[in-house]
């Protein structure tokens, strides 16, 4: 596998006041790779995405996208915001929402053209959303809206697709569907995908690598190598244990209860009673 590197983070550090949120993040992402960005609340996942989007300049280090420095509003990076809250009466069709991804940043009124329609139809079909292309967007389900947001982000032909917790608010089946969809599109089009998730289980079968953030530090690698008790314990700075139960992964904290409770709740929520507590 000798694919080009699309994203390079060189010893990135981010500090708010005197609080270090990210410290020395050093990773490379290759074209077509599917990365799960996992970590507890406040670990700096969203902050890292904002750095890659060029919305936040790192206090330390540098980053490059396809060998070039990062610019705000870079079309090489597609962004899928969290689930949106739309009024059911929002006067937009699904295709209008998606069209924003194509030319929403341009000035003036969009002139309907065959080419524009075709581009939108193409991306709608890529996310299997053609069937509700003309439906009122505010009345679609969370999973359907999520697919539109992905379509919207794909319209600029990005090299990198960033998704911030696209699975929160989705039931398990829709979550797996969205993961499969994104990983398929990433593979087909050679787009590097970075998907933020609290619970890594829906990503297990699709992600090439996991980028685990905790306490401002990160480890990246294959799931089997990173999601190990000793690796994560070192990252957290205290004893944590990785449990594998019926093909699911569960990170359980030692004495520190914040992580403990968080991941247990997430885990038990997702596999309905398969959680074991020592």
């Amino acid at each position: 596998m000798n694919r080009e590197t699309v994203l390079e983070l060189n010893h990135i550090g981010v500090q708010f006041g005197n609080r270090k949120v990210l410290d020395d993040i050093h990773v490379q992402v290759k074209a077509g790779e599917f990365i799960g960005l996992i970590g507890p609340n406040g670990a700096g996942k969203t902050t890292l995405l904002r750095v890659i989007l060029g919305l936040l300049s790192p206090t330390k280090g540098s980053l490059q996208i396809s060998g070039k420095p990062v610019l705000h509003g870079n079309r090489a990076v597609g962004y899928v915001p969290q689930k949106i809250h739309l009024d059911p009466n929002t006067p937009l069709r699904a295709r209008d929402l998606v069209g924003l991804g194509l030319d929403g940043h341009r000035f003036g009124i969009p002139l309907p053209s065959r080419k524009r329609r075709q581009q939108i139809d193409e991306v709608l079909s890529a996310v299997d959303a053609l069937s509700f292309a003309d439906a009122p967007v505010g009345r679609l389900s969370g999973g359907e809206q999520q697919r539109l947001l992905i379509a919207q982000a794909l319209l600029t032909n990005p090299r990198i697709l960033l998704l911030d917790e696209p699975l929160s608010n989705l039931d398990i089946r829709s979550a797996y569907e969205v993961v499969r969809l994104v990983s398929r599109i990433g593979r087909e089009k050679g787009i590097a995908v970075i998907m933020v998730a609290h619970d890594m289980n829906p990503l297990l079968s699709s992600m090439d690598k996991v980028l685990y953030l905790a306490k401002g530090h990160a480890v990246m690698g294959e799931v089997e190598n990173v999601i190990q008790s000793d690796v994560l314990s070192e990252l957290y700075g205290y004893e944590v244990e990785v449990l594998r139960v019926r093909g699911r992964v569960l990170v359980v904290g030692g004495e520190e209860t914040d992580l403990d409770v968080l991941d247990l709740v997430e885990g038990s929520h997702c596999n309905g009673g398969d959680v074991m507590i020592q």
Binding site: F107, A135, R139
Partner: protein
């Protein structure tokens, strides 16, 4: 026939003040409907409600100082809009809008007390007046209206983007804050030119009524805006006609007609289930 002549009195448009009222009313109707589309989309209804009253305070100040009330309206409504935009936290303007409104109303009350004999003028500004717009003001209203429509057409896409997907728009390089400010200024100017025609208390209904009504009819953005403009024009034209016939305030008719149309749309709207078109393409293998 004679009944119709009583409503549409043939000599109505031979009166210069009625021509002025119809001209300025039409401009304001078109602009208010388009602005209302975005006001509802962005959830700025409280600001849209407050700005006419803030502008009203400015108009009373202008009367006190003996200058054109339109100037007072524009200055107060635009500075009110700027304060709301500058001091409001991202996406949350309610508290600061209320504060700006209270300060402006207090100042307005003071202006009214200082200026004696202003009761009739205040009444006209609050409820709208047929003779409220002079020939030169029609020109001023037209210029401001055209500028606002121009700005809105220019900003149409980024404004829609930022209203629906704020983070996505931001990631694409759109300055959310600047865009929000410009939009609020447009709302302020729209307000300022609506008040002389419809009145400060009820001009809000022209901005919200038509745009809220069309939500029950279509979810196609262009059709929605077109329909809003038509409803708005119909509302203003009938309100002016009826006000001419009866001598009652225009604001009353605008509010009543907007409300009736809204209710008609809301309670006759069919809640069609979303239709899913069967995809022409073969299902993809996952």
């Amino acid at each position: 026939m004679s009944f119709l002549f009583q409503i549409f009195q043939p000599n109505m448009l031979s009166q210069p003040f009625m021509v002025n009222a119809f001209l300025s009313g039409s401009i304001v109707a078109v602009l208010a409907a388009i602005v209302g589309f975005f006001v509802i989309l962005r959830g700025y209804t409280f600001a849209a409600h407050a700005l006419p009253k803030i502008g009203f305070a400015g108009a009373s100040g202008a009367v006190m100082f003996g200058v054109n009330p339109l100037i007072g309206l524009v200055v107060f409504a635009v500075s009110g809009a700027l304060s709301i935009g500058l001091l409001g936290k991202r996406g949350r303007h309610d508290v600061i809008t209320a504060l700006v409104l209270v300060v402006a109303l207090g100042t307005g009350a003071l202006f009214l007390v200082i200026t004696d004999n202003y009761a009739t003028g205040a009444y006209a500004l609050l409820f709208g007046q047929l003779v409220g717009v002079s020939g030169s003001e029609v020109v001023e209203i037209a210029i401001l209206g055209v500028i606002c429509i121009g700005v809105l057409s220019f900003l149409y896409r980024p404004l829609l983007f930022a209203s629906i997907l704020q983070e996505g728009a931001e990631a694409r390089g759109i300055s959310i804050r600047l865009l929000g400010m410009v939009f609020l200024v447009v709302v302020g100017i729209t307000t300022a030119i609506t008040v002389p025609v419809v009145g400060a208390l009820l001009s809000f209904s022209l901005m919200i009524g038509p745009a809220a009504t069309t939500q029950y009819v279509t979810h196609h953005p262009f059709r929605s805006m077109g329909l809003s403009v038509s409803i708005s024009l119909f509302t203003v034209w009938s309100a002016l006609t009826l006000a001419y016939d009866t001598g009652w305030p225009i604001g009353f008719f605008v509010a009543a007609i907007s409300a009736i149309i809204y209710c008609l749309a809301r309670f006759t709207a069919k809640r069609n289930p979303i239709t899913f078109v069967r995809s022409q393409m073969k299902p993809k293998n996952l």
